[in-house]
Amino acid sequence: MSLLNVENLTIDIAHPRGTLHAVRGVSFHVEKGETLCIVGESGCGKSLTSHALLGLSPRVAKVEAGALSFDGTDLRRLKERQWQKLRGLKMSMIFQDPMTSLNPSFTIGSLLEEVYMRHHPGGRSAARARAIEILKKVGMSNAEERLHQYPHQLSGGLRQRVMIAMGLICGPDLLIADEPTTALDVNIQLQILRLMQQLKEEMGLGIIFVTHDLGLVARFADRVAVMYAGRIVETAPVAELFANPCHPYTRALINCIPVPGKTRPGEPLGAIPGVVPSLIGPQSGCAFRDRCAHATPLCARALERKRDGAAHVYECHYTPEETAA
C-alpha cells in the first residue's frame, strides 16, 4: 500500500466568469522513502494540489477526489480537528519563502517546542531536548544558542533549515515541500537539497517536492510528475523521464534547460510559444494543444492515459515517435 494515494483529485474555484478548474483530475502516489517531484509552470495547480494534501486549501476552493488516502487513513472524511492531529505529526509541509514563513515574534526554540508539545503533551524539557536534536540534524551549529534567536537574526538558508526542522521535529512519514529552495541563492539551494536527500535516507521519509525547476528535479527526484494546466500530463521515474520524454510539453520543458557544452554561448534558449490556456469554464481535450507544434483536430477530443513501460504514464493522443520533432 502506498504511503499516499491520490486519485482523480479536482479543485474548483468559483470565479465571477465561471468556475475555475484549477486542478482537473490528478492522480499520483508516493511511497515511503521516495521523492516525488511535481514540476510545472506557475499556475499549473501544483501548489493547490500540495496544499490540498494537508487540508490547507483556501476556503473558496472546492476539493474533490476519487481517493485520497494517507497511511490507510481516508483524508476525505477528516474533520478539521483530525486534520490538526495529522499535520505536523504524520505529514508536514515546508514553504517557499523562509523569510516570511516563520513567525517573527517568537524565538526559534519556542516555535520548535510548540510544534513538538502540540503532538507530544508533556514537559518543556523533553521538547527542548528534541528541538536541539533536530536542529543538529538539519546541520545547524550552536543549536543551543539558536534556540534563543529570532528568525530575523538568521540568514535565509538557516531559516529554511529551521523550517525543515519544524517540519520534521515530530518525525513525520511524509514531507511536502512547496518550492523550498526557490527563494534561496543557488549554492544554498544545493545545501538544502542535499540536506533533504540525507534526511530522507536517514528517516525513511516520503517527500513531495513541488518545483518549477527541472534542473533540481534531475538531481533530486526518484519519480517525476509533470503538471500542465491542472493535469499531470506525464509521470515517470526521473532517469526515464529525461531519457525518454513522451509528452510534447515535457520535451519542450527539457529543451528550455541550457546544457553546458551542448548549448552554444549566445544561442537563444528554448521557450514554449504561446500562453497557458484559461481554465475558467468547461475544459476538453489536451490543454497543451494551442502551444503544441504537433497538434491536430484530434487533440480536442477527450484524452486517455497511455503507458510506456510499467511506471511511465503520459496523456497524449500521439505516440512519442509521432510527436518527435
Partner: protein, 305 residues
C-alpha cells in the same frame, strides 16, 4: 532591549524640551502677563511694578531658564485667582481624570479588540458587519449625547448607577463608557485590519501546517503581531482622553483636570492653564514612550538596529 529603551528615552526627552519651550512661549505670546496679573483697573505704574516684581522685564531666555528651573523643582507657579500653588490644584484633580481615562481605555479595549478579532476571523460575513456597526455607533454619537442617554437609561430610568460626582467607583462607570466608546471604532478597525493581514501571512500558514489548533493560531500567532500597531494607537487615545475629558467631566460633574482646564479658561488663570498643558504633554509623551517599550517587547525586530 536596554539600548532600545535608552534611545527611545533620549528621543522622548528631546521632544519634552521642545514642549516645554512651546508651553512657556504660549503664555508669553497670549498677551502681556503683567497686564493680566495686575488686573483691568491697574494704572501703568502698577503694571510696571508687577512687571519688575515678576521678572517679566528680563530677556525671554532668562525667564525660560528660571521657569524651567522652578518646574524641575516641582514648582509650577502660584495661582493668583485661586490663591494656591498650581501643583497642589492640579494634583488634587489629576487622579480623577487618570482613573476616568484609564477605565475608558480599558472599556474601549475590552469592546474593540474582541470585536476586531471576531470581525477579522469572520470577515465579510454578517458577523463582521455587525461588529463594525457596534463600534461605529460609538463614533457617530457625540459623546455628550451618549452620556445623556446613559444617564437617562442607567441613572434615571433603571437607577443602577449614580449620575454625578466622583466619590466611588460606581460614579466612574458611565463616564468611562461614554468616553471609552468613542475610541472603540479606531481600535476595532485597526485590530481587524491587522488581524486580516496577519491571518493571510505565510507564518500563519506555517502554524496551521504544523497542526496547531485554530484557536492557538489566532490568539497566539496572529493576535500578538496584529496588536503591535494597536498599542501605539491606544497610547494616543489615552492621551486624547486625558485632555478630551472636558465634556464628559462636565456632564457628570466630576472634578478632574478637564473641568479644571475649562474653569481656568473662563477665569483666565494662565498659571493653571500653562501647568495643565505641560502636565498633559508630559503624560502624553510618557504614554507614547511606554507604548514604544511595549512594542519592543512584542516585536523583537524593533529591538535591534
Amino acid at each position: 532591549m536596554l539600548a532600545f529603551a535608552l534611545k527611545r528615552l533620549g528621543l522622548t526627552l528631546l521632544v519634552l524640551v521642545s514642549v516645554s519651550i512651546i508651553t512657556f512661549s504660549l503664555v508669553r505670546l497670549a498677551g502681556d502677563p503683567a497686564i493680566a496679573l495686575a488686573g483691568p483697573e491697574a494704572t501703568s505704574e502698577e503694571v510696571e511694578a508687577v512687571r519688575t516684581a515678576y521678572g517679566f522685564d528680563r530677556p525671554l531666555p532668562a525667564q525660560y531658564a528660571t521657569w524651567l528651573g522652578d518646574v524641575l523643582k516641582g514648582d509650577l507657579g502660584f495661582s493668583n485667582i485661586l490663591q494656591r500653588p498650581v501643583l497642589e490644584v492640579v494634583m488634587e484633580r489629576l487622579p480623577v481624570t487618570a482613573k476616568l481615562a484609564g477605565l475608558s481605555v480599558l472599556f474601549a479595549l475590552i469592546i474593540a479588540i474582541p470585536l476586531g478579532v471576531v470581525a477579522a476571523a469572520k470577515r465579510n460575513t454578517i458577523i463582521d458587519r455587525l461588529a463594525l456597526s457596534i463600534a461605529v455607533v460609538g463614533q457617530a454619537l457625540p459623546n455628550f449625547f451618549f452620556a445623556l442617554v446613559l444617564i437617562l437609561v442607567l441613572g434615571v430610568g433603571l437607577r443602577w448607577l449614580p449620575i454625578s460626582g466622583d466619590k466611588t467607583f460606581l460614579h466612574y462607570i458611565m463616564p468611562a463608557i461614554a468616553l471609552g466608546y468613542f475610541a472603540t471604532p479606531a481600535i476595532m478597525r485597526l485590530t481587524r485590519a491587522g488581524m486580516i493581514e496577519v491571518l493571510d501571512s505565510d507564518y500563519i500558514r506555517t502554524a496551521r501546517a504544523m497542526g496547531l489548533p485554530r484557536s492557538r493560531v489566532v490568539m497566539k500567532h496572529a493576535l500578538r503581531n496584529a496588536l503591535i500597531p494597536v498599542v501605539s494607537l491606544t497610547a494616543v487615545q489615552l492621551g486624547f482622553m486625558l485632555s478630551g475629558s472636558i465634556i464628559v467631566e462636565s456632564v457628570f460633574s466630576m472634578n478632574g483636570i478637564g473641568r479644571l482646564g475649562w474653569q481656568s479658561i473662563q477665569r483666565t488663570d494662565l498659571e493653571v492653564m500653562q501647568a495643565l498643558v505641560l502636565i498633559i504633554s508630559v503624560i502624553y509623551l510618557a504614554l507614547n514612550y511606554m507604548a514604544d517599550l511595549l512594542n519592543g517587547l512584542l516585536d523583537p525586530r524593533l529591538r535591534v538596529q
